[in-house]
Amino acid sequence: MQLSGAQIICEMLIREGVRHVFGYPGGANLPLYDSLPQYPQLEHILVRHEQAAAHAADAYARVIGDIGVCFATSGPGATNIVTGITNAWMDSVPLVCITGSVVTALVGRDGFQEADITGITIPVTKHNYLVMNVADIARVMREACHIARTGRPGPVLVDIPRDVQQHITEFVYPEKITLRGYNPPVYADQKEIEKAVELIAEAKKPIILAGHGVIISRAYEELKELAEKADIPVITTLLGISSFPGTHPLYQGMPGMHGMYWNNMAISQADLVLGIGMRFDDRVTGRLKDFAPNAKIIHVDIDPAEIGKNVRPHAALNGDVKHVLKQLNHEISEQQHPDWLSYLAGLKEQHPSISIRDTDKLLPQYVIKKIYDATQGDCYIVTGVGQHQMWAAQYFWYDRPNTFVTSGGLGTMGFEIPAAMGTQLAAPNDVVWSICGDGGFQMTSQELATISENNIPVKFAIINNNYLGMVRQWQDLFYKGNQVAVKMLNPDFVKLAEAYGILGIRVTQQVEVAAAIEEAMRHPGPVVVEFVVDEEENCYPMVPPGAALQETIDMPVYSEEVLAAR
């Protein structure tokens, strides 16, 4: 079959199972867009800024558990997706980006709208390609998708000059590929498994730190079996949230910088830490040299480079989480740790990190809690980055797997709107709540047009404190309260929503919260609910930057004078 390069791209995407593509056309990818109408199986979502295409495809990929695809043109189109690519890179998301490039004759000659996008994205992609020959497109597409979705997933960029998209060649579907430099591990070394089994048998105060790898590997069953069989409490990292049932008696919530007080103490006292599909990130460990000082470490990760990068493990289980946990579960014996569990329960009682204080004011935590009450956790939660993100992690109990979509590693404000879009398209029958900050919302609010145009029924909850809250919190705590460039004069978010043809609701009183959430969920289309919350509320517990987990500041006691002064 004689096809153009552009047609081959579409043929290959369809064969890779792709249904939705997020993108933006331009001079260098016009042949690709010219071919799209011939492939109605590929539904194209026209975003309003390329960054949103990458974030939407990123969230889509997380939810569906396979590749998400975005298109952009050369030059500024391509550089606009770099933030989205980096976000996917930091959170190990299988994103496939197809960019048009200037015609081959102009490559390397500073042609109009040329940017060296393969050069630019080398440090933030798992691999990338510049395809100069139409005969290579089919193979490259196959390799790109394979590399993106297997092993430790990650973004792959394929840059194709405009004329190469137009050239015609015989299309042969590549059944086989050869990647001699790529062979991700699956099973852990049996000797290391035996070491781990022994460590688990000996442990008196074990804890599990479950990360994004559990979700990527779809190892929910295996994690639950391990936790229950060995009677080990489960802490989830930010990206590990919804890898373990939120209401399970062994579930402990999040650790680290804004983690639960009891978790940070548990990690500090534990004699065994099982890090599963996580990378001992600085937000989790606090000051590294004081992390888990009494613990032996078991580290399960598919990426050999993660093992020993931050923490040197006593048992290194290098393989796919699902397969490694199966290996482990097969060999471990049943354990009981009643003393340890009741000790942790006691800590929880003395330091209830997530109680909402009694006040008539509209507190952000209260809003999150009410969304939980209204949905009973049967929904997706998407967030931006900042205080609201931490509250969404703390005050919600995720009882369905993989229902928390957030920007972890890169911490990309503005993720919340396009990511909600991608999440809703990936899970069309589910309710999607996007918890937003007033700052981040304005970074990508142009996507309300995309959402309105496609009637994507996302429910946005803007936690509006008219501040860049997390930055202000740092200025308050670590810069002597010198608040600089954090107060925001915001637009009327209700009118903004209405301008895009979206229902807008404003809530200023605690008593209105539940009704507004109900109304938003009853409404069949997208909704923006602006919650005008108490401006001064800060996010606790908190480990000061550079401090150890042992130095966690628990919920501050609000004195009457402080509260009166507000």
């Binding site: 249904r19 440090p123 086989k176 990647l179 797997p401």
Partner: protein, 188 residues
């Protein structure tokens, strides 16, 4: 204390591969002492030898991070193996008719070669491990080194063992067709 590790990598001979590897070094602040790249025994495959100082750089991370690159097929820290290290240097020294014979004597002792002579200069070619080259340079320093060019270390394991492709590196990956059926959800 400086402990120099010798790392050998087999990489695809494609445009941009060196850039990818150098990018890893730069991004993660790995300090590379020397680098030598050239063809290997297999067509389409380049062999790199690079030297890392363990005092300033986490050698295990260097190996693992570079190994993650798709274009890197094999990488090994061969420092603990029985290896031969060599580098080549071209040294241009000042040598007048008055002291030329002294220089020639030194060159002779080091089994180096004179590859160019002019009225006032000599170009010396020397092969050996870094210590040998360093010693020669020290001795020649007195005469005035005008130009110096060192290749960086290349290394090979003695005997049957080596850093070469294995059977496993030629395997073909048969991938499944993925026509649709991608669904969210699942339950605990």
């Amino acid at each position: 204390m400086s402990i120099k590790h010798t790392i050998v990598a087999l990489v695809e001979n494609k445009p941009g591969v060196l850039n990818r590897i150098a990018s890893k070094w730069r991004q993660r602040s790995f300090n590379i002492e020397s680098l030598a790249v050239g063809h290997s025994e297999v067509d389409g495959l380049s062999r790199m030898t690079f030297v890392v100082d363990a005092a300033t750089t986490d050698v295990e991370q260097v190996v693992k991070q570079v190994d993650k690159l798709i274009d890197v097929i094999r990488i090994e820290d061969i420092s603990d193996r029985p290896i031969l290290n060599r580098e080549l240097a071209l040294i241009k020294v000042k040598a007048t008719p008055a002291n030329r014979s002294e220089v020639l004597q030194i060159v002779d002792i080091f089994r180096a070669n004179i590859i160019d002579v002019s009225a006032t200069t000599l170009i010396i070619e020397v092969t050996g491990d870094e210590d040998k080259v360093d010693s020669l340079l020290t001795l020649l320093g007195d005469y005035g080194i005008m130009e110096l060019c060192r290749t960086g270390r290349v290394a090979m394991i003695r005997g049957e063992d080596g850093v070469t492709l294995s059977e496993d590196d030629h395997r073909e990956i048969l991938l499944p067709h993925l026509n649709g059926d991608r669904a969210p959800g699942g339950i605990f």
